[in-house]
Symmetry: C2
Subunit: 198 residues, 2 copies
């Protein structure tokens, strides 16, 4: 276990805690005081770290993700959806009929209980008050931009990798590339404003 700690950069105390909480499988016992750990342990510790530090998730929430991850009956789409929903946060209410209609109008396949759809629905009245409008045509530029990055991001999920690595990519990518897109949008606004009004 001391070796695993050295390889992963996670303390022995944390490793013991994660094993106790069911986040990390125990090593295969070699003697009464020694156990073997392999690459799957190192990968799982990397994933736990990303979910905690980048995803901002609690140990309990990570336990829920790990249960789905370790269930071979759960397919990749549902697994990645579980991770995306977890790192992007909950919604306070269910999706408005208007939001459901908008997703349908865009031709997108999204679950009616998607928290992102609920949060989007809650914002549509404000979007209308900005004078931007909330029809598919009104929101086309934002929807196109969203689809452009989403296509790149989802096709970027590493293909031959383990499920742990795919989950790690989606958790970190959802958070980090969301922030990157947000900052690039502000910079692009500044650049356009400079050309139009500068």
């Amino acid at each position: 276990m001391a070796e695993l700690a050295a390889r992963s950069g996670v303390s022995v105390a944390s490793i013991k805690f994660y094993i106790r909480e069911g986040l990390l499988p125990a090593g295969s016992a070699r003697s009464r005081t020694q156990a073997d750990y392999d690459d799957t342990h190192v990968r799982r510790l990397r994933l736990i770290r990303v979910l905690r530090e980048i995803g901002g998730l609690s140990v309990a929430r990570i336990g829920e993700i790990v249960a789905v991850l370790d269930d071979p009956a759960v397919g990749l789409h549902d697994l990645l959806g579980t991770v995306q929903y977890a790192v992007s946060g909950a919604a306070e209410q269910s999706a408005s009929a208007e939001a459901v209609e908008l997703a349908r109008g865009l031709g997108w396949h999204v679950a009616a209980d998607s928290p992102a759809l609920a949060r989007l629905g809650a914002m549509l009245p404000v979007v209308r008050s900005l004078g931007i409008g909330t029809s598919v045509a009104d929101l086309r530029p934002w929807a196109e931009a969203a689809m452009l990055v989403a296509r790149r991001e989802v096709t970027g999920v590493p293909d031959g990798a383990s499920r742990d690595e795919q989950v790690e990519y989606v958790a970190a990518g959802t958070v980090v590339m969301g922030r990157v897109l947000a900052e690039l949008r502000l910079l692009a606004q500044e650049s356009v404003s400079s050309q139009l009004f500068g």
Copy 2:
């Protein structure tokens, strides 16, 4: 003042506070106890409300924006930039050389002290660790998406409107449409994942 409160939905106490803090010009005195207020007061109260409730800004920060807004020597680009920087938050450090180089490579005109550029620079090492890369070519989909919405957003600044209304549009639009884009991206990811892995 009671009439202004009724028209704007802002309490008399808040109106008095905003006048004292220099956020709202005093009405033109009609008698010892009465003053005239006009549409500019109603518009300014609307703006203050948006900056507080949607922009999340303190009264002190709003005072700084109002000072720039009321200075006719400040052009529209600098005014809108002040608002965008205020509602999108500060940066902890200055922009890395790598971030400056990236903006240049994209052909974007952004100030070297832009907080968005600094925050972007701080994220580039994490982007690299995701295996996405940080060259202009690597980040092209996110930059294109950002420019697509930025062009629509900045050209949407109301043309013949007052500076108060233009500032209100930029403050609310920066925050609200940023959130809309973020939620649409999550929904688009779900849709693509459903097609690829569902």
